[in-house]
Amino acid sequence: MNWTTEDLKNWHDKIFEKAVGFGLDPYEQEFEICDHEQMISYMAYSGIPSHYPHWSYGKAFEKTKTLYDYGVTGLPYEMVINSNPAIAYLMKGNSLCLQLLTMAHVYGHNDFFKNNFTFKSTDANYVIEDFMSHAKRVRGYIEHPFIGLEKVEAVLDAAHALSLQQRRNLARKKLTHDEQIEMVRDQFRQVADPFGSVHKREKFDDEGFKEAMEKNPLAPEEDILLFIRDNARLSEWEKDLLTIVHDEAQYFIPQIETKIMNEGWASYWHKKIMDSLNLDFGLAWEFAKNHAQVLSPHPGQLNPYHLGIKLWENIAKRWDEPSKGDLEKFGKRNFENADGSKKTGSNKLFEVREADRDQSFIRQYLTMDLMRELKLFEYAEKEQDGQRVLVVTKVPDDDNWQAMRDQLIASVGMSGVPVIKVEDSNYRNNRALLLKHYHNGKDLQLEYAEKTIGYIRQLWGRSVGLETVINGRRAICFVDDNGGFDIKPIY
């Protein structure tokens, strides 16, 4: 260790000054200095200082620790949580250079948390308190003489399986019950008819409306945990657990949705800040080495840091020195500042960091040239000579680059989680829950689906069906009241 806390404070002031100078607008920042065991622990609990207990975090800890002990992976240099003030962890064993890099990087994340639109749904001021309150409540249920660990664990296991089955775009307002009723009513209203005086007037379809109103939910519902909470026969503590798991997953969704942007943004700014600090040769050399390491592409995989920073750098370049094609495509005015000056890159960056998420970010700014520069390819699993192998299917050429980009979009953020909604809670007039998988070209993994439906059945208390598509045919996976699993085609 070649630094003291005093050194960090001095360097921090410089870094902060630069960050603000560049236009970053972060929350108040707190740094906690910890050792590597603590770091692994924070990682297991996603950085949350006070979190409710569950064995899966023990599993995460063991996994990380094993990998770390065997030297398979290093530990991350930084870990920031989205709260106000933001909290970041610095590992004691790291060198001064790494600490500087981390601090600069942290300010990038911090600024992103505060300004990106997806994070508007989380109230950063109360994050820590919320998690603490959740932890306290869960511990209370575990210690309760009539509840206990086993029961709490059973509910948490099931709830964790479903935690990400919720609305993705939190910026979009959820319809209230009254609004949903209004929507159903609209379906039975007469269409505006310019010849109403001539035509025989049709009545409002009372019967149809009544029938439609009997259905629950009125519109397909994506918040599965909340729907079960509000409609299944559960005790108060079970409902509370479902709420807790739902809320915590909701807190992490913006981070899942902006992984590439966020990491790219932080990397972009740590580079800029560190370059502007006039480091001495030793530090500058070490920084260059570490920076290259963070951004090194993982062969055969995708490094979000690398993809992210390349996209941001590309945007800055394109808007500073627009090409002829871009000028034609977007129009000249898009490349001029309000006062008529050129070099709009910096403004564009801040505009994008506020208004986009990974999917829109890639759709708008990943070009064929950039894909080639990143040496991207698309692969799929195929059967060859009796073995299942991964085969390259596409490379970015004129015919394929858009399809490749779309494929990438379909795998980033929450796109990796299948969309599944509750369609009916009285399926076959038997209080069975009917879910529907909104198929996007990818089938569900059936072993996992079976187990997860089992969890839904456990919470719902009655049989559960899931409509999906398997190998191009519609089918329904059904778990009956006794837990028996069956897959039947739908004709």
Binding site: Q29, F31, K63, G300, L302, Q387, L390, K394, K442
Partner: protein
């Protein structure tokens, strides 16, 4: 301005310890639940107890809805062309229908020694029908009993009632003593010995003041006469380790080693006896095991010979039973001993011996607490061989006769467990 907090020097609590413990318990349970599968994958007969086995854990995946197909985008060196093979899929290696990369990560292995595994599998099994006989010298696992009181101990063993009783007794004694002192003061005063009386009264006052102070310090408001329980009045439970004695027992292992028992059958039979011997050795400290191997005639062999024997020849099952009967008669009197006999054979007996086999089997039933017959019929072996299973089932109605059919190595452990998991209560009885 930013705040820096150094938390490394503080004695931070290991907050993940509880969750890690719980995870560990889950891993152990998952292993135990799948023990039959794990054992059938391993050839364990004759292996060292310290051998480390890799156990795949399937029970503690965290299930979610995930996509199944394995497509993705990767970064290469720029030289990739469509059609290039960039690697083997994870599933291809395992040959199983598994999901893409995400769920695959959840599948991991846990190291465990063979000894631990075997201990784990025998936890719930017991010798059935172990009856009380005159001579008792099998020491089974010892039991800790609470017996008597002691003055020192851990808080966990504190006996509330005994402590209370002791406390009241001491307090009453105390009270009596104080009364006596008061009497004495009166007596001294009456006798005119004022000085001494004053001295005593002073001491008494001091004592009462001390008690008052103590109560004040402990903030006991309601009861003025409350007195703290003194350490010397606490009573703790004393525990004693008692070896539990069970009746004598002998286990007779009879194996068919004739020519029709090919390598696979022999392997299955040996696995069965391997479980049996290990189980008996681990769970019961003084129990005798006798090994009998038979073809057309039978002989008693050592454990090592029993497990390594390879012979050929015809089969007279009755010969094995006769040998067992002879051994029991000579050395293990049924009035003193619980005898158990287990026989493994492919049931390919010479037909002229069948009647005699049934007869001797029935005699063996009479002489033993349990006689188990395991027939080894691998699925591929076809039906050319004759089977004793049906014959035995039809003609032997003794309640302590049990038969099982073992068709492949997956069935060895479950069939074995069937013999011993049945009446736990009987085995526990003294």
């Amino acid at each position: 301005m930013a705040i820096f907090r150094d938390t490394t020097d503080k004695n931070h609590s290991d907050r993940s310890s509880g969750d890690r413990l719980r995870h560990g318990q889950k891993v152990r349970k998952a292993i135990k639940d799948n023990i039959g599968d794990i054992l059938s994958d391993e050839s364990i007969v004759g292996k060292d107890r310290d051998k480390i086995i890799k156990v795949p854990i399937r029970g503690i995946k965290e299930y979610r809805f995930v996509h199944g197909d394995n497509t993705g985008t990767g970064q290469g060196d720029g030289g990739q062309k469509p059609g290039d093979i960039i690697g083997q899929s994870e599933d291809g290696k395992k040959g199983k229908q598994q999901a893409g990369d995400r769920p695959g990560v959840d599948y991991y292995e846990h190291d465990i020694t063979l000894g631990e595994l075997i201990d784990m599998m025998f936890e719930d099994l017991n010798l059935p029908e172990l009856k009380q006989r005159d001579l008792r010298n099998i020491e089974v696992q010892t039991k800790v009993r609470k017996k008597g009181l002691r003055h020192k101990g851990t808080r966990k063993n504190l006996l509330a009632l005994a402590t209370q009783r002791e406390h009241i007794r001491a307090e009453q004694g105390n009270q009596r003593m104080l009364d006596e002192i008061r009497n004495r003061i009166e007596v001294l005063r009456a006798a005119g010995n004022i000085d001494e009386a004053e001295q005593l009264a002073e001491k008494l006052k001091d004592h009462e003041q001390q008690l008052l102070d103590l109560r004040k310090k402990l903030k006991v408001k309601k009861k003025d006469n409350w007195i703290a329980i003194r350490p010397e009045n606490r009573r703790y439970a004393k525990s004693k380790i008692e070896p539990k004695k069970h009746s004598n027992a002998v286990v007779v292992c009879i194996m068919d080693t004739s020519g029709s028992m090919d390598t696979e059958k022999k392997y299955l039979a040996k696995s069965f006896f391997f479980f049996l011997v290990r189980f008996v050795q681990i769970r019961y400290q003084n129990i005798e095991i006798v090994f009998v191997a038979h073809t057309t005639n039978a002989q008693e062999v050592t454990e090592e010979e029993f497990f390594t024997k390879g012979e050929s020849g015809g089969t007279f099952i009755s010969s094995g039973y006769e040998k067992a009967l002879e051994i029991i008669k000579e050395r293990y009197d049924p009035s003193l001993w619980n005898a158990y006999a287990f026989h493994c054979s492919d049931g390919d007996n010479f037909e002229e011996d069948n009647d005699k086999a049934v007869k001797t089997a029935r005699e063996l039933c009479k002489a033993t607490s349990l006689f188990g017959y395991g027939e080894i019929k691998p699925l591929g072996a076809g039906y050319y061989g004759s089977s004793m299973l049906q014959l035995f089932k039809d003609s032997i109605k003794e309640p302590n006769f049990q038969t099982v059919l073992i068709r492949n190595k997956d069935e060895v452990y479950p069939r074995f467990a069937e013999f011993f998991a049945k009446d736990k209560s009987e085995g526990e009885r003294k």
